[in-house]
């Protein structure tokens, strides 16, 4: 990464809580983040509307290539998951 050392303090608001994940709107209309519960450190019961803080860098493309694996997973599933023939 070219700019990975540019760490910025960010804040967000919890907008969705499930048993396994939380959704976070980044303040300043800078995006949305959904993370597994265990990636969130909490001292209190988690509620929608609570504010969170974290550090992050800008996100950079790693290259021009398109990773077909991610794009075609579902097509692969449809094409290749044959019912068991035996």
């Amino acid at each position: 990464m070219k700019y990975g050392d540019k760490i910025i303090y960010m804040e967000g608001v919890i907008v969705e809580v499930t048993d396994g994940a939380v959704g976070i709107d980044l303040k300043g209309r800078l995006g949305y983040l959904k993370i597994p519960m265990r990636m969130l450190i909490t001292d209190y019961e988690i509620k929608v509307g609570q504010e969170v803080g974290f550090q992050m860098s800008f996100i950079e493309q790693l290259g021009p290539e398109v990773n077909e694996h991610y794009i075609h997973n579902h097509q692969n599933m449809a094409a290749e998951t044959d019912p068991n023939e035996s």
Partner: protein, 502 residues
Amino acid sequence: MDAGRSVMPSVRIKQPLVFSDGNAAGQSAASSLIAAGNAASGKAVAPEPKLIRSLTRKHYKITEVKRGPETRIDGTVLTIREGIEQEAIDSQPLVHDLKIDIITPDRYHTYSETIMDVQPIATKEKGCEVGSGVTRVLDGVIIMVTGTDDNGVQIGEFGSSEGYLDENIMWGRPGAPDEGEIFIKTQVTIQAGTNMERPGPLAAHSATDVITNEIRQALKKLDDESLVVDTEEFHQYRRPGKKKVIVVKEIMGQGAMHDNLLLPVEPVGILGAKPNVDIGNVPVVVSPLEVLDGCIHALTCIGPASKEMSRHYWREPLVLETLFDPDLDLCGVLLVGSPQINAEKFYVSKRVGMTCEALDVDGAFVTTEGFGNNHIDFASHIEQIGMRGISVVGLSFCAKQGALVVGNKYMTCMVDNNKSEGGIENEVLANNTLCPEDAIRAIAMLKTAMDGGDVKAAQKKWDPKVKKDNIELISNVTGKPIIPVKNETSLPISKKRLEKYS
């Protein structure tokens, strides 16, 4: 005779390497071998080991799995009843569809939804309970649970391992399939949006267990002893006069798929089990033989490379190595859940400390799976144990991506379970889980610490050379080579991994 070990001809599970020969071979966390001393070198006659209980595994070989009118086992052929899928679906309101796919080795290059769990197919003989007596287990075949919700969202969302099976499985890890095995793979579709709620993953596991349980019943009916291809005996000994140790296993308890069903009636079953989340994640003492007999049905968390699936506990390397070590008195295994909120984490870790105090152990291993906020209670467990003057060794995937977020002065003896080249969660199933080579290092380290030896401080940055050096040092002292397991570089490389991690 080595206490704890009787005739064990099988290689079905990873045989403990048992490096103890009276010398407490030590190692440091930073590449320097410490004392190879013999702390208990007094020549007084040690009390005889005391046999607590025994477990026998009878292995039945399966070479073919097919569908038919009835679930049955004929010789080495397992037949699964046609139409059982509908009963599995009907058993769970949240399950909308379930497909069974039988994956033979020639079909390993098949697309699969994310692998939620890998399970042995085993059952208890009449009158036996999990952890003792006789268990029957099928060799050459495993259950694999996979699934999505109605919208195609992976149940193990976040770092899921969907893709071609042969590119996403680290063969031969304790929790993973072995190359050559047949997979009975369920693809479960659950109600949209429930993939991140507790009932969703549980429903997928429960529906799959309808199928597994019918196979168990067929396995129970076998009365032809000639079908037993192998028999393993596990004996749990207490060894008075030896260093008393405990294995503390931190298991996930944040909710959703971060949950484990404890102590089912059948090995890795559902019936009779209690979710550790519902128990409040408090420590539960189990015997090492209960662990090896499937007392944990893991719903398994995120992080394919570092999660401990149900089969992992069935062949748990640290439990096996410690159980068979004639120089250690393993008093039990403590399972403790990892809750979400910090106050609850400290609540359970204080109970861990108090349990170790009450048991008066000399040493403790603390293991965890994956990384994230579970490292907070992982560190706290170590602190609670260490502050009582008990030697303690921690085992976790850390390396680069899973670096610990907290530490304390008692975290001086640490073993990293990383196997990946880059020190990351690389989405290859079970790649970074605890293996025998990690157990051996941990045991050597704990013996060193209990004997008052030094363990050097680790460098600030992850350096895979530390592990390599320590393995070499232990091998040199014991004269028994340790061959590290392979990692993802031994697999056909997927485009995903090539582009993402190279």
